[in-house]
Symmetry: C2
Subunit: 321 residues, 2 copies
Amino acid sequence: MLTFSGIEEARRRLAGVAIRTPVLRSRQFDESADASVFFKAENLQRAGAFKFRGAYNKLKAETETSRVTEVVAYSSGNHAQAVALVSKILGLKATIVMPSDAPAAKLAATREYGAEVVLYDRYSESRDDIGQRLVRERGALLVPPFDDYRIMAGAATAAVELLEEVPDLDALVVPVSGGGLIAGCAFAARHLRPEIAVYGTEPVTAADTADSLAKGERVVIETPRTIADGLQVSSPGRLTFPIVQETVEAVLLVSDDEMIETLCWMLERMKVLVEPSGVAGAAAVRHRKADFAGRKVGVILSGGNVDRDKLAFYLATAAAT
Amino acid sequence: MLTFSGIEEARRRLAGVAIRTPVLRSRQFDESADASVFFKAENLQRAGAFKFRGAYNKLKAETETSRVTEVVAYSSGNHAQAVALVSKILGLKATIVMPSDAPAAKLAATREYGAEVVLYDRYSESRDDIGQRLVRERGALLVPPFDDYRIMAGAATAAVELLEEVPDLDALVVPVSGGGLIAGCAFAARHLRPEIAVYGTEPVTAADTADSLAKGERVVIETPRTIADGLQVSSPGRLTFPIVQETVEAVLLVSDDEMIETLCWMLERMKVLVEPSGVAGAAAVRHRKADFAGRKVGVILSGGNVDRDKLAFYLATAAAT
């Protein structure tokens, strides 16, 4: 079960290991969005994304109670890098199952952290099957990307830190993939500030959680195509979804163009690099997908890992529009 | 005269107006450079560069003692934006003389701040002549980009803040254009920590200050061609140079390729955007232009204003090498 004491445990484990990422502001962004926006810069987290928090909390807890020496993870990229880095820190052997079209920088970074990478085809193979087979064959511990209470508790610490610095937020906007980040952050935010409105954001082409909320149950969509490679899941998690149902106001949908525009604007004006998935929350506020006028809005910038050639493409795309 | 009390005055004027920019770290950069590097992120300063500090200090001081209502500045870009923004804050009319090949983003930002822009050809016209003519015709106050003690004192506050956070630096590395930033920073750093070694950095094709130091007097070179558009000056300043002679250990030279490599690395790994001129100090440390092994090194990242198309070009160049 996800509890606030589990989140507090995660905070203790992460102290001095995870970066307490800064909260960024921009006068110009505020003017463009007609809101006071506080960006929690998890793109500046270790391994370039919030994923480090959950992976470290999970694996540190496991090493405290069992004799785990080998781990397996499947991931579109940032979770892979996080598990690889955490394994290096904790002295574990890591095998990572990654889609063959994952950004080259993410593949390279995962290998640089000393992990073995096993590739699969995102559109024809099931990463779960491959991951489970590796677990059976190697007796390794599977580190799920989101559907795990310790992963959620670790991710939740980002929201706890943000609310410590800005306790009177009216709203919090969080990118939604499998739901680990938003379940953790929404649970923590509502615990600390019951009146806060928590919004998810998904690409319009990857609206599995929005659709599931509308239907009142988890739906499965086709593997979505979007530039936000971190948000390309087909269905919300079994454990994350009930928490999302209970704590989240609505899921706001953004287009690839809106994410590119926001990514390039933040790079040019705020001088920070955020990946498409990571910028989804900022894009939702900037393109006014809900009424944030005059409100204090927290936004989780969930990651910053972008390939050079893809970034060059985004810059060219944004310049042309 | 440049004095530490003048720098303390600048600090008081800038308090609550300039951003106290963060000091960034990177484990990976440290490993690559075999040093402990502390980046003072002036790319996150208002108007995207350290220039805001000097311009505000200068103009605020002027408005305290005279009835100035109109100002003129000539600049390759960042000084222009700073004077434009400061003029907007202080309610002054600003006219800015800019080279016609200045980055479009810098031209646009200068105009956005409400300044009038007058263009000139960097390779055939003298910006000083044009600036002086505007001063005569309009009775405006000229805000020089570097050769002014209040400009230097304002710039110096960046080094003061850095040394407050990291008092035991062994070295400080600062990009050199006309010398306002390095004269101010070196003066302040040596005042606060007499044993610190201060290094300048220039592009190999824009080594006017390195040449001047070697010769023992200010030399004039042809308008240099380099991607570091902020460092394209022909000669060190009349007022800055004697201070540089007294306080600076050496000027380290970096190539355009080394600046591009460092810019792209910092963007990809540290998720921050620094412009070529701004990254010159980091490039000198990363490419080991002096013996920084095992030392604590401060580096001023002086600015972060880059055109989108130029950034795309740098990314492509770095990917190809």
